[in-house]
Amino acid sequence: MPDKIKLSQLADQIEQTLHNRFEGTALWIIAQIADVKKQVAQRRCYLKFIEKNGAETAAELRGVFWSRAYAQIEEFEKKTGQRFEDGLEVTCLVLVKFHGRWGLSLEVQEIEIAYTLGSLELERQQVLERLVRENPNDIRLRDGQYHTRNQSLPLPSVIRHIALITAPNSDGQRDFLRELLQNKYGYAFRVEEFLTQIQGDGAEGLIGAKLNEIASRKNEFDVVAIVRGGGSQTDFKPFDTYDLAQIVASFPLPVLTGIGHDRNTSITDLMARQEKTPTKVAARLVDHNFDFEQSVLLLRDRLADSISERFRRIREELTGLRRIIRAASPETILNRGFAWIELNGKIITDPSVLQPGMSIVTRLKNEAVHSTIDSKENSTPDWP
């Protein structure tokens, strides 16, 4: 009969063995995470670390973040713009722990954020390269800048009809509408809301479906605005997907994005007209209409200037004419010492009608001289 030991004794031995091997030794591991369960209130997170070899799972160990390490998850999400969720590959510093009842688990001490940033960046570059490669007519890379067909669509002179894609009851929706509604110029807008989930798994498909719906009614809208509230929202993934970026790049109406991310620009932003926040998208639309109105008011001022200039010239001409008329008036002539001769009440302009013996009247300033012609001859005056 072999010796028997109690289960707890075995557990103790395992614990002791692992303790001897691993106690005080933290190890960096590379693994995928799965079954991530965050307990936000208790600031704990349970998960599995797995490693796949093709379709096979080569290794799988349980892991846990206790409250001290939980801040690492928050920091990770803030810095990467990526939710800490199933399917992610991460590198973590872990302690190996064994408990007689709960078994083996890896206690996470630290997440290496740079590793994830690096792999996200790599993924992003691959998506961008594929976009350029597979959509040569819609997307071009020139001098490090992406240029898309959508960005080259001109905005109408005035924007009035807006298709708004946003999450229901979100900060983004509120901020956007408030900014539009409170514009100080009194411009009116018609906004049709296309409400959808805008983050999380599969959101790109939902946003894409709304875009397709808008495209089928494109004559009813001037622009599309895609907005999402800022704050601590982190999930950026839908906007970095090939599918959504591709739809936006070739979309038949100008697309403006305000998806509220300070540090990063998503791939979808690069394909559209990007603003940082929903408020800024709305402000840009208001400014656009303001620019139009200014151009119209400038025309009004030019017209007014041109007309008053025209009347100023006419007034000037009239003043000149009046001076000439006054210089030529009989009164002016008589004042200067000239006189004229009347025969039978008519001014004589042709002296050949005058004959000796005729009675004439010579008019001078304030005087009329009556006389009879004695004789006449041809003569030219000696001008003084």
């Binding site: 005035v158 514009n183 018609r190 906004v191 049709e192 139009f292």
Partner: protein, 72 residues
Amino acid sequence: MSFSIQPGLSLTDARNQLAALVEKVERNEVSLDQLPEAIRQARMLLEYCDEKLRNISVEAKDAGGPWLTPEK
């Protein structure tokens, strides 16, 4: 003969018409007796732009979502 704004005129076209009118006046191609008519047309175009920008009374029959007009 009498000028009127065709329904559904785009604001781009309204501005272009106004610009053409202003340039004609600036080039002295509008005689003095035609000037009051030119001014009347300009005023109509300006009012049209203002109405469209602020949705003053123009398209109550427009389909789609509600118009958002800032409080005065």
